[in-house]
């Protein structure tokens, strides 16, 4: 019976150690335990190369090998006949295995011993089920396709980006029971990701940022590859990645203008999937769990399909938000009463503080500053995305930068930080700035 590699993927999760046999030129066999047998595709696996040892010596001299893997559910054994092809020392496959190895190492208390030197790619010549053994009853894994279908149906019903963000995370919780999830957008001009929606955390973390290469999300984003780990490694947790980001931050981003990253303190399973349009990175979809080995290969498949649909829908909705040609109405804004809100804007990085509390910075900060200035100086309260895009002072990045996502970020930060300033959608590509208190503006120019 021919067995497809995809049928035995759960043997490759690292739950049970796999074993590799190689042979030297003189025919002396050698056996080694492997940290990882990584599923590359139906015809290839990659094995972790951690030490220059007998195995290494053997495969370079004689590329034939056999690896035995074990099903963690029913203890079935499978043997894979392999042919060594090459070793990769950077790129998506390597980074994926490196992140996974770091998790395995910290899980087994081997952090100091385990370091990935390379990903050895092998062609799978044959998959053999080892005969014998007693049949055991194993609970079948749940089918994910109906859940995925339900998620996709929810996405299809969304008419704007804010709905799309929330529907994505809600449907993941409802249909897939992924209870801790977040969605981040990519700011290509600054090479950073910013959180626009989250679910299942005490703090939303909206507006918090992560650099490319920081933590699982940052590495997966940089490499444009999904990364799934079943044992989280300390060095890949956000808290730490973000703190180290502070330490190495040379771009003048001061600590007090950072929004704390949310995320589980005791996160053990993590799955980060890029939202891609071709090779263009739009953002990241991320789920995590306190349970070890929570996400399966099938979960990863499902999330990758969902992410590709999300990316396309995202692009369609953001374009339609900017195609609205109708100018904003010029109804004068109502006069607000009460103690003025002091709004400070630092032109250097467009960071904005309301009554000394940090709100936002960067492009969203610049947009906010334009809105409150127009409101104060011209009494305007109605705006369109299009006019922001065309505003020469804002100097928005090109069309691929997502203005609508930044407006959602700003809208949500305001909702969390300042109840007196509200951004309300008034139609496709149109919104209103509602102001319930007088504004006192204070611009701090670049020194």
């Amino acid at each position: 019976m021919t067995i497809a590699l995809s049928q035995i993927r759960r043997c490759l999760e690292g739950a049970v150690p796999s074993v590799l046999a190689t042979a030297a030129q003189d025919g002396t066999p050698n056996i080694a335990y492997l940290s990882q047998v990584h599923y590359v595709d139906e015809k290839h696996v990659a094995l972790s190369y951690q030490f220059f040892n007998k195995t290494r010596e053997n495969i370079l001299a004689n590329p034939r090998a056999v690896v035995q893997v074990i099903d963690p559910a029913d203890a079935s054994h499978y043997r894979l006949q392999l042919q060594y092809l090459r070793t990769e020392t950077d790129g998506p496959l390597f980074e994926n295995m490196k992140a996974k190895l770091a998790g395995i190492a910290s899980h087994t208390g081997m952090s100091k011993v385990f370091r990935l030197l390379g990903s050895d790619v092998y062609r799978v010549l044959e998959v053999e089920c080892v005969l014998g053994g007693n049949p055991v009853t194993v609970t079948p894994e749940p089918h994910l396709l109906p859940n995925l279908r339900a998620c996709l149906a929810r996405l299809a019903g969304c008419s704007d980006l804010a709905q799309l963000f929330d529907a994505t995370l809600e449907s993941l919780a409802q249909f897939c029971r992924f209870d801790h999830a977040m969605l981040l957008m990519f700011d290509a001009s600054r090479n950073r990701l910013y959180t626009v929606a989250s679910r299942g955390y005490p703090q939303s973390g909206i507006g918090s940022e992560i650099g490319l290469g920081e933590g699982i999300i940052g590495v997966a984003a940089r490499e444009r590859t999904p990364i799934r780990i079943g044992y989280a490694a300390r060095e890949y947790l956000y808290g730490r990645a973000v703190r180290e980001g502070f330490a190495s931050s040379a771009d003048g981003d001061a600590l007090e203008t950072e929004i704390p990253f949310t995320g589980l303190a005791e996160s053990n399973s993590q799955l980060a999937v890029p939202l891609l349009l071709g090779r263009r990175l739009l953002g990241m979809l991320y789920v995590e769990s306190p349970q070890e080995l929570r996400f399966t290969f099938e979960d990863e498949d499902a999330l990758v399909v969902l992410a590709s649909q999300l990316a396309v829908t995202f692009e369609l909705l953001s374009q339609s938000a900017e195609q609205h040609e109708e100018p904003a109405t010029t109804t004068p804004a109502a006069t607000a009463q009460g103690v003025p809100l002091v709004i400070r804007h630092f032109a250097a990085d467009h960071s904005v503080f309301i009554d000394n509390d940090y709100l936002i910075k960067g492009v969203a900060g610049a947009i906010f500053w334009k809105l409150v200035r127009d409101r104060s100086e011209a009494g305007r309260s109605e705006f369109t995305n299009r006019e922001l895009r065309l505003d020469p002072e804002l100097k928005l990045p090109d069309i691929s930068d997502n203005l609508e996502a930044r407006l959602i970020l700003l809208q949500r930060r305001l909702a969390e930080r300042c109840p007196f300033l509200v951004i309300e959608k008034t139609g496709r590509g149109r919104f209103r700035l509602k102001v319930d208190r007088p504004l006192q503006l204070n611009d701090v120019p670049v020194r």
């Binding site: 074993v19 002396t28 035995q68 080892v130 053994g133 007693n134």
Partner: protein, 167 residues
């Protein structure tokens, strides 16, 4: 390669004890084309002089390996304790296929129970545990060989250290 003599086994007493219980045992050989073969062993016994190790193998699970050994292939065996990662690899220039008796069957059962106990310690449960260690009822043979080299392979600084023969 180091040549052992009959009065200097490469296995010391401590390791001879170690390999008979609470360890996962994997056996490899290779054919004339240097394609390796690999199978699991279900226990072993060590001769009183510690010069011969006899592994117990399920025949249906080990066809290619037995074929390679019959053709004169060399042998490598890894013993690893799941709960501690303690690992030892033995090598032999050749091996012979020998019948096993009722005592060996009893040793296989005892061995299976000890391995099951060890993997339960690190959190494995049924049905995995029983399925992993049960070969009762399968045709089984012994594979006898004389270890000519032993290597400590416990992950860590000493990994790869060769054990020197103890007279």
């Amino acid at each position: 390669m180091h040549k052992k003599t009959s009065n200097s086994p490469v296995l010391d007493e401590q390791h001879a004890e170690f390999i008979t219980q609470r360890v996962s045992i994997l056996v490899a050989s290779c054919n004339a084309d240097r394609m390796p073969s690999l199978t699991r062993s279900f226990g072993c016994r060590v001769s009183p002089d510690r010069c011969t190790v006899t592994l117990f193998l399920s025949v249906p699970r080990s066809e290619s390996l037995l074929r390679d050994l019959r053709a004169g292939g060399a042998i490598a065996v890894v013993f690893s304790r799941p709960s501690t990662h303690e690992t030892l690899q033995l090598k032999g220039a050749s091996a012979s296929i020998v019948p096993i008796d009722v005592d060996d069957r009893a040793r296989m059962r005892t061995y299976g129970e000890s391995l099951a106990d060890d993997i339960r310690q690190i959190g494995w449960q049924e049905p995995f545990v029983s399925a992993l260690v049960t070969v009762l009822g399968e045709e089984a043979v012994g594979v006898s060989f004389t270890p000519n080299a032993a290597f400590v392979q416990t992950p860590g600084p000493a990994a790869g250290r060769r054990l020197e023969p103890n007279p």
